[in-house]
């Protein structure tokens, strides 16, 4: 950890100005930033503490939409009664993330900006090659330990998995991120690595996230987040799915369905092919399982992560089936 200057921003405006300084990084809950600084990955020259800005932690939910301030804590959003009733998948994604202690510190804005758990990315002293950290230096993961790496959206430059849970639910329900001057669909906010693995978000110097907005829908109201991992708690997903389901009045024909995947792709992954295959069809186990396979079209494994190709469709299918049972 090298020396840095500390600046406390009391307004969004002040934070934006400071964030435009070269080498500046925002500090919200600090659970990613401090961790990465200890690993030697983040080396900010200025740390801008935004955690005291007033009014950025509001949670405002009605049946049309939810607006969640960037400084709202993960635990508060997860426990929010209206979030639970209007957007159950959002609440479930949050409470299955990290640990209780982390959720009490971590903010929604910081959560969207969390970095990959690729072990090579996190250990610059021992693994200098990492395109995400040092563009052009190569990728230490390819040919190495890849059990946690992505099978979708990878490139020759980088195969790192997007680790978060919340964004999977957000991408399923077409949420938008508010950057002040600009508003972006969550799907566009996250970038697949391509040849520029270092660019993970469409966010420019001087921009900060002020809020996210999630449109309400019948599918969002009947939604769930299923997270599969070896350890029951406090582990990133081996594979996860955020699903929303709306049935016709007959109680079995699918009118609307949302499918997004976590733990298997380089960015929060919307599986539209699965949605398209199921819309208008009757909800039965065989067709759900078959359609879920479509999510893995184009999947590429790197050996130890091969299991994800088998696992992810099962996670999708089981989440859909679970929603189908809870009429």
């Amino acid at each position: 950890m090298r020396d840095f200057s500390y600046l406390r921003a009391d307004s969004v405006e002040a934070a934006r100005n400071a964030a435009a300084l070269p080498g500046a990084m925002l500090l919200a809950g600090g659970t990613t930033l401090v961790d990465l600084a200890k690993c030697g990955v983040a080396e900010p020259s200025t740390v801008i503490d935004v955690s005291h800005i007033e009014g950025l932690n509001a949670i405002d939910v009605n049946s049309d939409r939810a607006i969640i301030g960037a400084l709202a804590k993960m635990s508060h959003v997860a426990d929010h009664a209206a979030v639970k009733s209007q957007f159950p998948a959002v609440s479930e994604a949050l409470w299955q993330a990290a640990s209780a202690q982390l959720r009490n510190m971590a903010t929604i804005g910081g959560n969207l900006m969390q970095r990959t758990r690729c072990p090579y990315f996190r250990d610059p002293a021992n693994f200098p090659a990492c395109n995400k950290r040092a563009p052009g230096s190569g990728c230490s993961a390819i040919g190495g330990i890849t059990r946690g790496h992505a099978v979708l959206g990878t490139s020759e430059a980088c195969i790192a998995t997007y680790p978060g849970d919340l964004a999977i639910a957000l991408v399923a329900f077409d949420a938008e991120v508010d950057l002040g001057e600009r508003r972006l669909k969550i799907e566009d906010f996250f970038l697949a690595p391509g040849a520029t693995a270092e660019q993970e978000h469409d966010i420019r110097p001087g921009e900060i996230i002020t809020a996210i907005e999630i449109p309400g829908s019948a599918a969002a109201r009947r939604s769930t987040y299923l997270k599969v991992r070896d350890r029951q708690s406090y582990e990133f997903a081996a594979a996860s799915a955020a699903i929303g389901l709306e049935l016709e009045a007959d109680g079995r024909t699918i009118r609307d369905i949302r499918v997004a995947l976590g733990g298997v792709a380089t960015k929060p992954w919307r599986a539209r092919s699965v949605e398209d295959a199921l819309k208008g069809k009757a909800l039965d186990e065989a067709s759900v399982r078959k359609a879920s396979e479509l999510a893995m079209e184009g999947a590429v494994d790197h050996g130890a992560n091969h299991y994800k190709i088998a696992l992810a469709p099962r996670v999708i299918a089981r989440a859909i089936l679970k929603l189908g049972e809870t009429a």
């Binding site: 599969v228 582990e235 089981r318």
Partner: protein, 762 residues
């Protein structure tokens, strides 16, 4: 040093103080309220901070260390390299063998593992030291590394591990029913919450070390030898230990660096390993491979066991993980052969982790016997009873006590084993496949000699002193109970001081021996102190008991009276006042009478004097049986342990509450071993890539079901003075095979490589 609230601990019920009472941990409240100060939390005047620079290659030579930028960085006091650190003397090993080399340099020029310490930066603040350490540039001449067991040859045979009787190979070949399979366990780590580290301070040629330690006297010896000062000049202080699990018994390279830096700078130095360094600076459990072949007759009676094991060790150090230890004693067999090799790989020397040897050994034999049971269609529990060893099959001596049959019966009853559906893949709950598994475990009773000081003070309070330690297993508590019972005083009047090499000496806290050793020593010392008090009370003219026609006095609840009630009844404080005594103190020990001072020193500072568990007429072991239920998701392959019932024979329990807590801790660690724990090595770099607490998976509360433990032990007079056997390590032994066996029962898939992660089942 002790800030224990004895009132709180004793408040649960009446006879808690007696040995065998369920007294709560007396150190618990101090720990929970933050009053317990751990070793390197000491605040010292002029403290400096050292940070290590570690090797980023697994094998090769250091050809240059550029320290210029670090030396001029803010706050830096010294940058130590192999060339500039003071050279130490070689120290004897834990067996007391003299050093292989006359000198010792804790910083390496020849790199034999990734993470080895190359240099150290000392600065005024920790942050300055961290920043400057990042500026040290090391260049290497890298050579190919041997990464793990699969790289090597067959390795080096360890002849001392060979155990053979009958003609095992021929009997196996001739057996009508045979199973043979390979079982692997990965590199695992102790993963204690409290990292390794220390503060070292020199005053003249006297060295004080504050360091978490499972063995203050053994480590003090090492420091004394490194620096060529008398043993008495080294004081090692370790009041509390935030988990050791076998890793904190030795002074290590980083310890030497800190002590040398303190000497060179003339200022106290604090050095704490960061989390990744805790995975590379000392050894975890070695990765192991075993093949177990069992031949049996059609009735399931074992005819032969052929066992071959191999564990990894280091290029520059030897660690043998005794893989045949349980194999050789668990079942009766007329023919047996076990042999073991080690393979040198580029790793830090592996070390002891809870039940070294017995733990992986049980994984092999207890899975293999399960495979044999399914092969024959015999209930796995029945299979174990058919082959019950009525005496130690290896040394052919009777067991001191072996309540394993009782453990099987009690565990099966509580678990409901009789309701088991025999076929694999035949029990389910929705989309969860349900499986039941059983396995046995054992751990030898290790015995040694100990010493304790007991003081009766003027106010009637009692102090117990020992250099032994409490790493959470309950030494503070059971020694207070032992002194309270022996002296007849309420436990609240007893204070226990531990973990300081100035106190009465003790050997290593490892191998589940400490409780047996120390309760014996405290009993001895307390009895002597009591004898002296009673003697004075009867003989001193100032005593109201003087002239009484009694030849002894009784003490109960801190009050002293004649056994038949004639004469006065006084509190100990009143009596001490009348006698005009400030204190009565007695140092008691269990050391054999003829021991020379040299032998006594070696008894406390090496493990060479420990008694073999098969010494004399008996073979002494603790035993257990674990019954486990798992649920395996049929789609995801995720395994959750939903029920554990374990019946354990640790002999007499000095404190059942603490024993249960130890057993459960072991069982929980076993669940982690079975399902989660694995040091993952990048084969190209020979480096652990998950050396941190987010990526090295340990079970969370959510992974642990309700665990029922049942004590089936009886006092074992051959194992310890008060009849206890071992507790701390026993619980983990057999848990992983019980879970693997349950997973087979649930799924029909036999996973022989730990941990049982989801991709092995989908």
């Amino acid at each position: 040093m002790t800030v224990h609230d004895m009132k709180h601990a004793a408040s649960d019920s009446a006879r808690l103080e007696a040995v065998g009472g369920r007294l709560s941990r007396v150190d618990g409240p101090a720990k929970i309220t933050g009053k317990a100060h751990y070793a390197f939390e000491q605040q010292l005047e002029g403290l400096t901070h050292a940070v290590l620079v570690s090797a980023t290659i697994a094998a090769g030579k250091v050809i240059g260390i550029d320290t210029r930028a670090a030396e001029t960085a803010p706050g830096v006091l010294a940058v130590l390299t192999p060339d500039t650190i003071m050279v130490l003397k070689g120290a004897s090993d834990w067996l007391g063998n003299p050093p292989a080399q006359p000198t010792y340099n804790p910083l390496a020029r020849e790199v034999t593992f990734s993470g080895q310490h190359i240099a150290a930066v000392v600065a005024e603040t920790f942050e300055q030291a961290v920043a400057a350490a990042a500026l040290v540039k090391v260049s290497y001449d890298e050579t190919p590394a041997i990464v793990d067991l699969s790289d090597g040859t067959d390795g080096i045979p360890i002849e001392a591990m060979t155990k053979e009787w009958g003609n095992a190979e021929a009997a196996f070949a001739a057996a009508p029913v045979r199973v043979c399979a390979a079982y692997n366990t990965p590199r695992e780590f102790q993963a204690a919450m409290e990292p390794h580290g220390l503060i070292a301070r020199w005053q003249g040629d006297e060295l004080t070390i504050w360091e978490p330690s499972q063995w203050v006297d053994g480590m003090a010896r090492t420091y004394a030898e490194w620096f060529g000062v008398p043993f008495e000049n080294v004081r090692l202080v370790s009041p509390y230990i935030g988990g050791g699990f076998g890793s904190k018994a030795l002074a290590l390279a980083h310890s030497a660096v800190a002590a040398a830096a303190a000497k060179m700078l003339g200022r106290p130095v604090k050095l704490v390993l960061n989390r990744p360094q805790n995975f590379t600076s000392y050894g975890g459990r070695a990765a192991t491979r075993q093949t177990v072949a069992i031949g049996a007759d059609k009735a399931g009676r074992i005819q032969s066991i052929v066992h071959r094991g191999v564990n990894e060790t280091a290029v520059d150090g030897m660690w043998v993980e005794p893989l045949g230890s349980v194999t050789a004693i668990m079942y009766a067999t007329p023919n047996f052969s076990s042999k073991q090799n080690v393979v040198r790989v580029n790793t830090v020397v592996p070390g002891a982790k809870r039940a070294p040897g017995e733990n992986p050994s049980a994984f092999g034999i207890e899975c293999a016997i399960d495979e044999l049971a399914y092969e024959l269609g015999i209930d796995p529990l029945e299979m174990r009873l058919i082959n019950y060893a009525e005496q130690d099959p290896q040394v052919k001596k009777p067991w001191s006590t072996r309540q394993l049959r009782e453990a099987f019966a009690a565990g099966a009853e509580a678990f409901g084993w009789a309701k088991r559906s025999p076929a694999p893949h035949s029990m389910r709950d929705g989309r969860q496949l349900v499986g039941w598994g059983v396995a046995a475990g054992t751990y030898p009773v290790r015995r040694a000699y100990g010493e304790a000081m007991v003081k009766i003070l003027a106010d009637g309070s009692v102090e117990v002193e020992s250099s032994s330690i409490d790493m959470g297993q309950g030494t503070y508590t059971i020694l207070a109970q032992t002194a309270a019972e022996t002296l007849g005083v309420p436990v609240e009047q007893v204070t226990v001081k531990l973990g300081d090499s100035l106190l009465a000496r003790a050997g290593v806290t490892g191998g589940s021996r400490l409780a047996g050793v120390m309760t014996g020593a405290v009993y001895k010392a307390a009895s002597q102190a009591l004898d002296e008090l009673v003697g004075l009370a009867l003989s001193d003219p100032r005593s109201p008991f003087h002239g009484l026609q009694a030849n002894t006095l009784a003490v109960k609840d801190g009050r002293i009276a004649s056994p038949r009630g004639e004469g006065p009844e006084l509190s100990i404080a009143e009596l001490m006042g009348m006698l005009g005594r400030e204190r009565i103190e007695a140092k008691g020990d269990t050391v054999p009478a003829g021991f020379t001072p040299e032998q006594r020193y070696n008894n406390y500072t090496t493990i060479a004097m420990a008694l073999p568990h098969t010494e004399g007429d008996y073979s002494r072991h603790s035993w257990c049986a674990h019954f486990v239920e798992v649920r395996v998701d049929e789609d995801f392959g995720t395994v959750r342990v939903s029920r554990v019932v374990s019946a354990l024979d640790s002999g007499r329990l000095y404190n059942p509450k603490l024993a249960e807590s130890q057993w459960k801790g072991g069982i929980i660690m076993g669940i982690g071993q079975a399902l989660l724990e694995e040091g993952i090595v990048d084969r190209r770099h020979g480096r652990i890539v998950n050396g941190n607490f987010a990526d090295y998976m340990l079970p969370t509360n959510a992974d642990i079901p309700d665990i029922q433990t049942i004590s089936v032990g009886i006092p074992d007079p051959h194992s310890s003075a008060l009849g206890g056997k071992g507790v701390g390590e026993l619980g983990i032994v057999g848990v992983a095979p019980a879970i693997a066996n349950a997973v087979f029962h649930a799924t029909g898939k036999r996973v022989r490589d730990l941990p049982i992660t989801l991709e092995k089942l989908i």
